[in-house]
């Protein structure tokens, strides 16, 4: 019996010819990631255990993104712990204010992660990099500390669900609608402990930004990782960007899957996840009676250049509805810069939106758009749990940038129809 794509990457990193579902292995890591919330805990554990150096200063990435530029004194202290640790261990991939971006937008953009990698990050959305054909998964701070010290992590080899994609997405839909549709059908624990392996003819028509968005939310179905095959779209993205040589792995033709789910991309419609779970999905067209107070376009799910472009195409020359706070957060400094250079920044301001420096900010209820009791936000983020963006009595609806921008203009939830 053959191995899935994930199993092949894990076997290679464990130095084994073969691994099987459920096997416990120790795998070598290509990149170990942490942010301003999880790194301080990892640093503490690292020191407490008596480690004094990291396994490789070029293989650790520390990105300050959740609460920077620092939202308060405590956040500033946390950033300081990260900064000092990165300084004293000469961490080459340390990203501070002015250079930072939201970690899962930044690492692929900067070529720090690549095809064939085995990556852990002390952030649940580390699963994003599966879009590049890597095994990448979220862990906690202790795993990060152990990974920084030893360059290894323990894993239970996962089984997989195969998603066979065919057809082409309608022009008012994007990767976000695909992943919301999937989570709506399999549920928030539908892929618990498993890999979500995306294959099929439909993959080719999905841009890198779509794939990154889809893998980003694999964790919202409980998955260990999401992964795409490496094709010319991937190689086009990695060439000239990737710091290390990409390594291409393919699933064996006789690999075993727990389930195979067929999805015709042409049947996808603009989809919204209603409070308070990402699985509570519904077509945007059925939610026209839901009025909103705020729209957020950004996050590691949808803060990329295509997301900004979708927002621009819908908002330019128009005005955000009265009473709506529309907050746009480009994912990295490079994306912010492109928004400025292409005139999108001005168009956003003219439409009545506000544009922030890159940050997680409101996505996790940190700052930059916190909700009061009874308020409702439509966001391109990935979680709509109770209290996620502020008061426990506030509500978050999740959607694509198309749907978010169209809804900002309307004042209520609506799909984008203008194509």
């Amino acid at each position: 019996m053959g191995m899935t794509m994930t199993q092949k990457i894990l076997a290679a990193h464990a130095g084994l010819d073969k691994v099987a579902d459920g096997q416990l292995i120790a795998a070598k890591l290509d990149i170990v990631l942490g942010n301003d919330i999880t790194t301080p805990v990892a640093v503490n554990e690292f020191k407490k255990a008596g480690f004094d150096k990291v396994f490789d200063q070029d293989r650790v990435a520390i990105v300050l993104d959740h609460f920077v530029p620092n939202k308060d004194i405590k956040a500033a202290e946390q950033s300081k712990i990260c900064r000092e640790f990165a300084g004293s261990h000469c961490i080459s991939h340390f990203y501070d204010v002015g250079k930072m971006g939201i970690e899962h937008v930044l690492l692929p953009e900067q070529g720090i992660v690549t095809a064939g990698d085995c990556i852990i990050g002390a952030d649940s959305h580390t699963c994003t990099y599966g879009a590049l054909g890597a095994f990448s998964t979220g862990v906690g701070s202790t795993d990060m500390a152990a990974g920084m010290a030893t360059g290894k992590a323990w894993f239970k080899v996962p089984s997989a669900i195969k998603f066979n994609l065919t057809g082409k997405l309608p022009p008012n839909c994007s990767g976000k609608d695909v992943i919301l549709t999937i989570i709506g059908s399999i549920g928030v624990d539908g892929a618990l402990y498993k890999s979500m392996e995306f294959t099929g003819d439909g993959v080719h028509g999905l841009s890198m930004d779509d794939r990154l968005c889809i893998c980003n939310m694999a964790i919202e179905a409980g998955a260990k990782n999401g992964i795409f095959p490496v094709d010319d779209v991937t190689m086009g993205y990695l060439n000239g960007r990737s710091e290390r040589t990409p390594v291409v792995f393919e699933a064996d033709t006789d690999a075993e899957y727990e389930r195979i789910i067929d999805i015709d991309l042409a049947t996808i419609v603009p989809t919204v996840a209603c409070p308070h779970l990402p699985e509570n999905t519904c077509p945007a067209s059925e939610l026209h009676d839901i009025e909103i107070d705020q729209v957020v376009i950004g996050s590691c799910t949808n803060g990329r250049i295509e997301d900004m472009e979708a927002a621009y195409n819908i908002l330019r020359g128009k005005e955000v509805a009265a009473g709506i706070r529309c907050i746009i957060i480009p994912g990295t400094m490079q994306i912010l810069r492109e928004c400025v250079e292409r005139g999108w920044y001005t168009a956003f301001i003219d439409a009545g939106a506000v544009v922030s420096t890159p940050t997680c900010g409101p996505c996790l209820g940190g700052y930059m758009g916190i909700l009061a009791a009874g308020e409702r936000c439509l966001a391109t983020t990935n979680r709509n749990f109770v209290g996620r963006m502020g008061h426990v009595a506030s509500e978050v609806y999740l959607a694509s940038p198309h749907t978010a921008a169209a809804s900002a203009l309307a004042g209520y939830i609506t799909e984008y129809k203008g194509v």
């Binding site: 416990l24 554990e45 609460f67 990050g121 952030d123 649940s124 152990a146 624990d189 409980g222 749990f385």
Partner: protein, 165 residues
């Protein structure tokens, strides 16, 4: 290794945002964070919890963010063990890595009620509901993981194996 105490019972899909809301995550201090444990789902929890008590959850306990702060605040509050029908995977590995025992047992999680008195033996995986007298057997951990919990966490076990090897 075991624990004995009263049960706090919660539904399916308890996420890390309600275990410890992100608005408090601007400090890594476990004791300070623990003051807000379960605040958004059960404001009474921190007032009532006593050392050795047990949390019983449903499916997918601990879903959401990778914050290790979640099992850490539960442990710091004095909870001796979490029993659930299933755990979200990062919460599961974080608990093991910090040496905090959690047990998967759907039957126990279904039948044990809030305020029941339970005793849990981690070595055998036996859960006894002292209120009803019924016992349950959870999946025991594989030896590799038992070792991590026994050592008090992943880093301690790594240190031990370095010293032994």
């Amino acid at each position: 290794m075991n624990t004995r105490g009263k049960v706090f019972k919660y539904p399916d899909n308890v996420d890390t945002d309600v275990i410890i809301p992100a608005r408090f995550l601007n400090t890594p201090d476990a004791k300070e964070l623990a003051l807000h444990c379960m605040e958004d789902i059960d404001p009474e929890f921190v007032k009532k919890v006593q050392t050795g008590d047990v949390i019983v959850g449903g499916w997918n306990f601990g879903c959401g963010s990778s914050r290790e702060h979640a099992p850490l605040v539960i442990k710091t509050c004095g909870i001796g063990c979490v029993i659930a029908k299933s755990f979200a995977r990062i919460f599961y590995r974080n608990s093991i890595n910090i040496g905090f025992p959690i047990l998967e047992c759907a039957e126990a999680a279904e039948e044990i009620d809030a305020d029941d008195e339970v005793e849990v033996n981690f070595n055998t995986g036996v859960i006894t509901n002292l209120t009803t007298g019924k016992t349950y057997k959870a999946q025991p951990f594989p030896p590799f993981i038992q070792n991590i919990i026994k050592s008090g966490g992943l880093l301690k076990s790594l240190r031990e194996s370095e010293n032994n090897g």
